[in-house]
Assembly symmetry: D2
Homo-oligomer: 497 residues x 4
Amino acid sequence: MTLTDATHQQNPGQTDTFDESEADTLREYCGVFGVFGFDDAAAITALGLHALQHRGQEAAGIVSFDQGRFHGERRLGLVGDHFSKESTIKRLPGSAAIGHVRYATTGETMLRNVQPLFAELNTGGFALAHNGNLTNAQALRRDLIKEGAIFQSTSDTETILHLVARSRKTALVDRFIEALRQIEGAYSLVCLTNKKLIGARDPLGIRPLVIGELDGKYILASESCALDIIGARFVRDVKNGEIVVISESGLESIEPFPPQAARPCIFEYIYFARPDSVVHGRPVYEVRKAMGRELAREQVIAADVVVPVPDSGVPAALGYSQQSGIPFELGIIRNHYVGRTFIQPTQSVREVGVRMKHSANRCVVEGKRVILIDDSIVRGTTSVKIVQMMRDAGATEVHFLISSPPITHPDYYGIDTPQKDKLLAATHSLEEMRAYIGCDSLAFLSVDGIYRSTGYPGRDNARPQFTDHCFTGDYPTSLTDLVEENRAQLSLLAEAS
Amino acid sequence: MTLTDATHQQNPGQTDTFDESEADTLREYCGVFGVFGFDDAAAITALGLHALQHRGQEAAGIVSFDQGRFHGERRLGLVGDHFSKESTIKRLPGSAAIGHVRYATTGETMLRNVQPLFAELNTGGFALAHNGNLTNAQALRRDLIKEGAIFQSTSDTETILHLVARSRKTALVDRFIEALRQIEGAYSLVCLTNKKLIGARDPLGIRPLVIGELDGKYILASESCALDIIGARFVRDVKNGEIVVISESGLESIEPFPPQAARPCIFEYIYFARPDSVVHGRPVYEVRKAMGRELAREQVIAADVVVPVPDSGVPAALGYSQQSGIPFELGIIRNHYVGRTFIQPTQSVREVGVRMKHSANRCVVEGKRVILIDDSIVRGTTSVKIVQMMRDAGATEVHFLISSPPITHPDYYGIDTPQKDKLLAATHSLEEMRAYIGCDSLAFLSVDGIYRSTGYPGRDNARPQFTDHCFTGDYPTSLTDLVEENRAQLSLLAEAS
Amino acid sequence: MTLTDATHQQNPGQTDTFDESEADTLREYCGVFGVFGFDDAAAITALGLHALQHRGQEAAGIVSFDQGRFHGERRLGLVGDHFSKESTIKRLPGSAAIGHVRYATTGETMLRNVQPLFAELNTGGFALAHNGNLTNAQALRRDLIKEGAIFQSTSDTETILHLVARSRKTALVDRFIEALRQIEGAYSLVCLTNKKLIGARDPLGIRPLVIGELDGKYILASESCALDIIGARFVRDVKNGEIVVISESGLESIEPFPPQAARPCIFEYIYFARPDSVVHGRPVYEVRKAMGRELAREQVIAADVVVPVPDSGVPAALGYSQQSGIPFELGIIRNHYVGRTFIQPTQSVREVGVRMKHSANRCVVEGKRVILIDDSIVRGTTSVKIVQMMRDAGATEVHFLISSPPITHPDYYGIDTPQKDKLLAATHSLEEMRAYIGCDSLAFLSVDGIYRSTGYPGRDNARPQFTDHCFTGDYPTSLTDLVEENRAQLSLLAEAS
Amino acid sequence: MTLTDATHQQNPGQTDTFDESEADTLREYCGVFGVFGFDDAAAITALGLHALQHRGQEAAGIVSFDQGRFHGERRLGLVGDHFSKESTIKRLPGSAAIGHVRYATTGETMLRNVQPLFAELNTGGFALAHNGNLTNAQALRRDLIKEGAIFQSTSDTETILHLVARSRKTALVDRFIEALRQIEGAYSLVCLTNKKLIGARDPLGIRPLVIGELDGKYILASESCALDIIGARFVRDVKNGEIVVISESGLESIEPFPPQAARPCIFEYIYFARPDSVVHGRPVYEVRKAMGRELAREQVIAADVVVPVPDSGVPAALGYSQQSGIPFELGIIRNHYVGRTFIQPTQSVREVGVRMKHSANRCVVEGKRVILIDDSIVRGTTSVKIVQMMRDAGATEVHFLISSPPITHPDYYGIDTPQKDKLLAATHSLEEMRAYIGCDSLAFLSVDGIYRSTGYPGRDNARPQFTDHCFTGDYPTSLTDLVEENRAQLSLLAEAS
């Protein structure tokens, strides 16, 4: 029994349905950012969030602390739409702040789900921003409600807040550690108290979090590109399982979990991170180009041009072109003014969908054998249209290459994937996929190929270096909520039979 | 340490400063309404709240239950601005609903304070709307936070929600009773669960709550005028200290407190209730006219016209006119398009303030001895201007009569009074008040006079029939938060000395 | 062929349908205001328009001149919603300004119809605000378009602007006079040039316009209540057919038309003007009370209470009560928070319509013979419900008295009346009206009675003192557009037959 | 004397100041689109305008005709923000429509300047959308006002409307031709009457306009990419000086001017047109790549990478890379979520400006000799920052190449260039520019080089094939307004001396 509450949807227009090509992508839940000791903490946080905008476009929030009070602003929409205004920044005074950008999975676009979350504890205020997803949030939530906790949001992040509030420890950091020990799944957290800025990554380091420095003061951010925009220096990644506590005395590192090898999510390289970010020590742009080069080694094709699906396919296409010697050309032009689904005229005009966002550059494609390069295939609905668009523009052959392996398993760690039966590669053979998409040939980068692109000789199946379950089904943590849900459905089936 | 959060201020324009004459009135916190068993529960609730709009114009909210889910909408602004739209009502399906209109005391116009509040308990959803004010909310809140409760609002009402959530009883009604036993102060509550509509009044019945009936189904409302608008029949008041539980099996009455005489708040008759409401068995309009008649008996004045300060002074002025034989005339015209403070021109134009809302009707006043009748004096700032306005319009004498006794003590039960030192009658003698206001004579209705207006022979000082501390200083409940606050200040003073 | 242009509907919510009781009233098109020589001209104009808000609630506009440029702001909604903000007033600098409040007849709520209108002439800028309605605007418009004029609005007022622009005279005032000589109908105009504030009334002075003074500077306003709010002194009415030109050299009066007796519109006394205004030398409140007294002389009825339909029926009811000795009581309470039509619940709840705005005060009405007093009957739909409401509240008899004669003819001079066949009195006998409305008796004030209320011995049928065609069919000007339209329809009919 | 009118600024947020890097680009005024004979004319027009969004992002408008009435909607903001909603499109019924996207030069972001403009003529309605700029609009406007015309906008386009309205010819097309004969400058026009869709280009064909066809029905559009989005076929360019009249009888061509060679604006190739458009018979992408190749022939530089300033520099950089063999790399990443200027933090953080939009991709640039390629230099302020950004990212050398000649003269035909003294190349020698920008070398494509890129052997100085005055000072039409303005200033100077 839950409360649907549309009260907080300030801009219902923001929730307009997106065109179906949009729905055929992977989406990251979030990006986080935090600063401590800067005079204009909120203004700096707004810039950082702007640089992380690609990690979540649905909503943004900032909480600041001014040595006396916490101040919060949360909004549906882009960072630039709300947090570029002086009036908003002025309502966020103080020298410490944390921020969050968010993409929601379902229709739950309510403002009360927008982070950072905040609670007034008996030790003082506590604000929290989370990138990732817990795999035992439902189980914990049920227990907490039984004990009288009142949840105000539907987000798994609020569970962490209640665990901290309930802890009987005295020191905030101890309460925080006690809370982390109860949760499972993926999390990069940034927290603000009246004394400290705290960062934490889950024991496997699934989602990214980096430490930056400017004028001797510390910054935490999901990606290094958020350090670049403010001219800060990249210091290092927060380690898997590490808690960093930033206060007036500097940065303290705590490692409350048993040592364990990291398994960062491979998808940051494939799709999520900005190409100019350095993730887990490797420049994203270089890794993506390497994927293209690996692809060129694995798939040798006679063709006239290499055409990327913009923008995410561009670096891999460049890598493929440089490795293969086949010229790189912009055969698809992206319209940067997209966002809304237009009314489809009923007549004559053939389905417009994909052309709202992409258009063929006929002069490049006409009469040519085209190698089309994209980063991944989710449902495949967009791929069908892009291949058709190439053919309509006169391509004589269309070879479709994907710079990552087939996605066969859904994610539970903060990536918005459709259910398994909606994943094209989970339900179709390679040839069936090719036929569905309508290309002359279709190929994916191998799992070892993608590991090679990151500098490893291949996947270490005994101790995989990355979280890669979407390709392999090898989920790195227990999935408590999923197991319970399956058990409940099974028992319903058993009763029914 | 608290979080200021402007996130939810959807209509910042709504928080414009009001002109000072506005600030010189008493304000009620709230009105509540609930229905059970009606096909269009939310549409009916919207109408009921509209009829209760005079009890709170700042915000409104409705929560409905459709046998499966709870649905909530809360908005800053008037009921008609938001809950008259089909789109909003459609988002509130179900056959049971509760609603709330609100006036906030301080600048806390945040949407998260707008009621009904809601919590998902392990027994199911629980929504709550409150008229009144608790006098031990801060003490309870402090304890609850110590135990790990996370508060989302600054309202005292959320305390009740946490007490219900924390109760270890099994049945919801038992949990509710356990919560009520811990709170003190004034409350008329309307609650909605997935099975029941619940109403409750505090042991003294300070704030009103009535039961209505339409087609055999029950309605709860702050005032009978909310029954009239939907054509429902007035059944009876909820008794002081009574809980009424309305479900499919009908209405059940529970009296969890030791029996006690009721002491309803006398101010409902003086100012708050709508004149067409019947409060505690007496028509408000008749009581107000009786106050005017009592005033005419107590104060015999030679004058030409009786002029009410509109709209609240009208019934008493009619009563005075009928008793005294002096003609009743509309010597002050009220502008119904008020609400905003206009920019004051810097020159020539004499202070506009009160003229935005009231203007003198010169043809009635010029050359006349005027008896001006108002319901009460709070700070007196408006009275000064209204008397001057009468003189500017040519009144030869202005006799200012108040149809209630002098307000000498602040309220802590849900009426927004200024602090004691801002109450004119608390710091000035009658003659000082007259001189400040600038009238030829000033008189108030006596305390016994106001009791006589309600049908009693006078105040029973041993067992006062009403809550009347604003006039007498006789607070009917303990004031835990106030006592603790005073103690804290005293100890600070002691340390300082 | 016209352009429907919704572009300018900033607040579509403002155009919500009103409930039918709203539609059963007369509405004035407009109010106008102008000042010259005040430092805060726009702030003063905003106050003046606020006092004139009862003359038009749909839209408001101000144009100011700051010795260099004209500045304009026009908005849908109330004056207080838009022109109370400092930001808006700051965009209207200068020491001269004119303003306008507007009520639109049809659905034409577009912003480009909102006045003041403005044109850049070769002699400089010219702004114009108009109260009234031209009866040959369509004919003039057709001619102007033939000559190449481009109209931007659908309002008749723009016609005047084009006539001024086209004039070949040199001086602006001469061009203005040339324009006035071509128009017919009712108009009170306020104009602003880079040197002058100009006021004008049509040759019969149908719509009101007054001159005020404050600190030696002049003000023009539709009603004297707009002078009171800024503390200005009433000087005199602008005379019928007079043009007043206010400049740095003072006030100049021009009378370009042949002398003629004035025939101001009687409806200002009955309904439109605010009760505290002095119109054509008579206090409106006194005239309305006199109507009640005349009614008491004409209609002697045995009854227990006199109940006004608030607010417009109040003065007449007071007059009736004082003349007849039957007590005046507030038997109907008006809800001041009205404006929107709420969703009507489908069941049980009897039709809510009129109860949104009015509710019966049962304690006054129950078991009583009621004299109900209203100012006029248009369609009669509201009257039916109000009478029924009295009966539902227990009235034993309901006698319905109207303080003006039956409305049998539509208006073409700026009052929004329905077409003739929708006017109850145009299509029903008195007894048919009584039966339709459902009262025990129905009576109207006589035509001579209404003239007596204004101080005349009766109507001078040879030279009627007022414009009163709604009661008499005696239209005081030619009706060119109407005649042409009828002719066109007749010729269509002739062709068809 | 003019009226500043903020009335129509629906979204004041839209007028936020842009950061200075934005101001350092060229901007096109407009794009136009029109269809005739399609059931969903407005929906198709919305799609066409979306494809033309790069030609104007400030405002958009559509006027449709439904065989009875014209319907118009105009909005500030992007096409997708307003014209993707079904509610808006439903208000634009009819089978013919024209549309416009607009970029404004100055602060005049008022809605009344948003096109299409509309006038009701005595021959019926007439709607007009204009891309270009008239060079005698002020002179014509002055004459028209003298004759009594009332202008409602400050746009030069309204002049055309008045000329058509004033014409004494009978047929609309004749009136239109008469108007065209009076105007000078650049114009591509799309007009809608109750019978016809009309397109026209100025005698030199400065601004583009193409004819498309779908299912035998005609479309007009600024660029061919707007045909592609709706799946229409490119038919041909409207010829310079040609009027095309599309009606139920098909397409009629009229050539009212003496024959003359076309001189289309060269800037469509350099910057404005979308790369997938075909302009004047040449694919824009190919021309841009050819500019890069020409540049590589003219400027041979020893370097490690070719880096485009995204997005406009990409095709030229690809051409340069392919010609020179130096690898093409994305050394600058563009943030697509730009639009607002953020509050600049006051401390530590070095100037953020250009980093809001662009960031260095360090892994590509570090330790490299970089050839940076951009399409043009206007003020040079952005170039300074981009070069510095390359150095900060570790570039050892930065060679800055521009794929067009130096801009030394302002435009008066619809491109928003700064005044001459703000154009870097107009006031600096090549070496001064290099020093100012801070690069190791700076070079521009030669004038002949740019002509070669379009397929000509070079510029035919006797009869130049393009409008290229920005590079050459060779303005192809008279500049009446400019000459008069200069004369006025000279005479002021003469008086003063």
